[in-house]
Every structure is written in C-alpha cells, then in structure tokens.
C-alpha cells in the first residue's frame, strides 16, 4: 500500500529535514530513493512535491546548497544550515507529539 499524497503533504518538510540530519548532504533523487527504501516503498515522494519544498526551505535559510558538476549536468546537494538544525529538532518533536495525539484521538473514537 502506498500512502496518499494528502497524508504525506503535512510531514514532507519534516521527512526531508530528518533525512538531511542523518545524512549530512543529499540531492533530490537520493532523497526520494532513500525514503522509498526505508519505508519499503510505502512512501514515495513525488517530484512535484519534493522540489518546491526544497526550494522553499532553501529560501527560508533552513537549507544550504552546494553544486557539483556530473559531466555536463549539475547536481545540487542540500544540507542543514545551523538554523535548520534547531528547526529540525522542533519539527521532529512537534510531529512525534502530533502522532501521539492522533493515536489517542483515533483510539478513543474506535473504542467507543
């Protein structure tokens, strides 16, 4: 089963930040592949969602980039800025908290 894009949307930024926290620097394709592998294909990031988010995070100063030439093409590596590192922590604890709340909320409803 692949999760719907609606479910992924709200957590996409956090996923990107967490991956960059663990892997120092990554490029777009690498991010999609890593997520696919780690989730056994359950979460597949679409290009149409990933790149807009990467650009926005860069504009916010949360991510910094370096470019490398691979033959004739350019590869853009993303990594966390110092500010991005603090934001990653906040986002991760926010999401963990949210997941607990959801669990609680939904369990409550199904049990009644």
């Amino acid at each position: 089963m692949i999760y719907s894009s609606e479910l992924i949307k709200g957590t996409l930024k956090t996923i990107i930040l967490k991956l960059l926290k663990d892997n120092k620097r990554m490029y777009g394709y690498e991010i999609t592949q890593t997520v696919k592998e780690l989730t056994g294909g359950k979460i597949q990031l679409t290009e149409g969602a990933l790149y807009p988010s990467l650009h926005a995070l860069e504009a916010e100063g949360i991510l910094v980039t370096e470019t490398e030439y691979i033959g004739k093409r350019v590869r853009k590596y993303y990594s966390l800025s110092p500010e991005g590192k603090t934001i990653t922590k906040e986002k991760l604890s926010e999401l963990a908290d949210f997941m607990n709340t959801m669990k609680f909320l939904l369990d409550l409803k199904t049990s009644s």
Partner: protein, 388 residues
C-alpha cells in the same frame, strides 16, 4: 546501467524548458533527477526517448510547469510571512518610538524631535505600506482592494500632517484638513456601503464607521475655524499696532537726542536696528513694513508665523539679529547706564527668538518692549541731569 550522452542531456534540458519550467535552479534539479532515474532504471540498450517521456509524465498531473507554479507559490508564501514579520517589527518599533518621543517632548529632554520624526516616519512610510501589502492579498474583489488602498493613503496623510504640525513645518493644517475631509467624504462612505451589504460584517462596519466619524469630528473640533482664525489675527494685529503706536508717540515725546554722547548714540543705534528688524519680520508675516489702522482692509494680518522658520528662510535676518545682540551688549556696558542708578539695563534674552516655540507676535512684542526700555532710560537720564 544506461549511459546518457551529452546530446541526450541537452535534449532533456530543452524539453524541460519547452514545457514551461523557467527557474534555472529547478531546471537543473529536474535534469539531474531525470538523468538519475534513467541511469538507474533503463537497461543499457533501452529506448531512451520512450523511457524519458513515460518517466517525466509521472512528475505531474496535467503539465510539467505545475512544479514551478507550486515552487513559486511556496516562495511567495515565504515572502508573505517575511513581510508580515517586518510589519510587526516596524509597527512595534514605530509605536514605541512615538511614545518615547512624546515622553521626551513633555519632559523637554533633548532629542525629542528626532525620535518623534523617526517614529512617525517609520509608522507612516514603512508600517502602513506593509500593512497594506499584506492585507491586500486577503481581499478578493478589486473594490475591496481599492477601499483598502484609499484608507492606507489617507492614514499616511493624516500621520504626516500630524508630524508636520508638531514640527511646525509649513502646510500641516492644509494636509490635516484635506486628509480628514477625504476620509469623511470618500473613505467612510465607500467602506460603510460595501461592508453593510455583507451580513457577517454588518455590525462591525457600523461600529467602525461610527468610530471613524467620531474620530474625524474630534480632530476637526481641535482645528480652528477659518473665521475665528481671522478674528484672532485681527485681534493680535491690533494689539501689536497699539503697542507700536504707543512707542511711536513716546519716541516723539522724548524728542531729539543730543548727538555726540556715547550713550545717546548707542541708544539711537539700538532703536534704529530694532525698527529695521521689526519691519523685516512684519514684512515677512504680513507683506507690509509698517502697520496702520487700515491693516485689516489691506489684509496685513499677524497670524501664526514661527520665528524659527523666519530665521531658517532668511540668512540676512540671522546676521541682523546677531548685530542687534551685539548692540544690546554694547548698550548694557555703557558707562552712563552703569553709573546712573535710575537707569536699568535691558535683559539680553529679550531677543531670544531662535527658540522653537517663539511666534511672530511674541517676537514683535518683545522688540517694542526693548525700544520702550531704551526710551525710559533716556528720560531718566535727562531728568537726572536736570536735577543735578
């Protein structure tokens, strides 16, 4: 693993561009991404073109430029938040500066004017435009946007008028009255009739309109009516004319001075120099160098002129004032003045017109007083000499 040739890279890049992706950063990201997919998933002897087109199709729903639109939307959102942030920051700073400036002004501490100017300028030229740009995005119809724009412009005008007023800069009253009238005649009706149609905003619209009208009314109540302005000017001018006529009579009665004596010579010089400065100021304020009883018909009225502005506009006037001050010092140091007990020296702050609050009427009054004091001393001197 498939190996992509340079021509194929150019082909992909051209195709991305052709499909409406303009941002270079995004083009390069997509190019690398597609190349990675092809290299990893296409067999060595696979069909490049067919694989490329099926791959790129999975990137979008209807067209590739969706990705760019989404990116721009997210980036705009970012600028919007940054703008909102700077709006809050500039608003907080300007409000604090204005409050601080008013405190300084009340306490007569130095720097009050600079703080108030900075605070009001920041408020009207940074905060209000930012408030407009962030709010205008929330408004749907062109009409609402126009109303918001008019409101912002009028608010900027009102705060600038208040700034001009407290700094005694010219044109303040005109600006204030015009902006308040624009508010009453254009903005409030527009705002009221567009808001009242909507059931949700009806109550709020009525309350806000009442507050705005009452606020404008209170402000306009502070302003002097043109008629009473004129009446006040006539009263002030005839009061000054009376002092001036008393002085002229006194001067005639004092008679001619004996020339040659140093004290008499200085007295005469002082009276002449004062006459000249008086005429200069009077000409600047009313257009005539001498007042007569028919001043009202000539419309030669003393109104609200500020001495500070007079001296700022007239370099020569500053020189004349400092010459007068030198003469006054010389007068006060005259041996005759010091040796006869009945004579009084003239306080030198009588010509301190460069203070920010000094108006023309006050300055002219002081100058006449100076001349009267000179005449009094002359009479005292005459009588003392006769009694000896």
């Amino acid at each position: 693993m498939y190996i992509i040739s340079d021509e194929q890279i150019t082909f992909i890049l051209d195709d991305i561009r052709r499909n409406g992706v303009v941002m270079e950063d995004l083009q390069l990201n997509l190019l690398d991404h597609i190349c990675c997919i092809i290299e990893n998933e296409l067999e060595e002897n696979g069909d490049f073109r067919q694989f490329y087109f099926t791959t790129v199709k999975t990137f979008y729903k209807t067209e590739l430029s969706e990705i760019e639109q989404e990116t721009k939307a997210l980036l705009n959102n970012k600028y919007y938040y940054q703008m909102k942030k700077s709006m809050f920051v500039s608003g907080t700073i300007s409000a604090s500066l204005i409050t601080l400036g008013i405190l300084f002004k009340f306490m007569h501490w130095p720097g009050a004017a600079a703080i108030v100017v900075l605070g009001i300028s920041l408020f009207s030229l940074v905060f209000l435009p930012l408030l407009f740009t962030t709010r205008v995005k929330e408004k749907q119809s062109l009409k609402d946007k126009l109303i918001l724009g008019t409101g912002t412009l009028i608010a900027i005008m009102i705060s600038m008028a208040i700034l001009f007023k407290i700094m005694h800069w010219p044109g303040a009253n005109m600006m204030g009255v015009v902006s308040l009238l624009l508010m009453l005649i254009i903005y409030i009706p527009l705002y009221f009739f567009s808001g009242i149609k909507n059931q949700e905003s009806k109550a709020n619209t009525i309350i806000t309109s009442i507050l705005l009208i009452a606020g404008c009314g209170l402000f306009l109540a502070l302003a002097r009516a043109p008629h009473s302005s004129h009446a006040l000017s006539v009263k002030d001018t005839s009061s000054y004319l009376r002092s001036e006529l008393i002085y002229r009579t006194e001067r005639r009665q004092t008679g001619e001075f004996v020339s040659g004596e140093s004290f008499l010579k200085t007295s005469k010089e002082l009276l002449t120099a004062t006459d000249e400065l008086k005429s200069d100021i009077l000409e600047w304020e009313t257009g005539v160098r001498f007042l007569d009883k028919d001043f009202e018909s000539k419309n030669a009225l003393i109104s609200d002129g500020w001495m500070k502005i007079y001296f700022e506009q007239n370099e020569k006037a500053k020189i004349k004032l400092s010459e007068l001050n030198t003469l006054l010092k010389k007068y006060n140091a005259e041996p005759d003045l010091l040796s006869y007990k009945q004579l009084n020296s003239i306080p030198e702050d009588i010509t301190g017109f460069n203070r920010s609050e000094e108006k023309v009427l006050g300055a002219l009054g002081n100058l006449v007083q100076l001349q009267m004091l000179v005449l009094q001393n002359l009479r005292e001197l005459k009588e003392s000499k006769i009694s000896i």
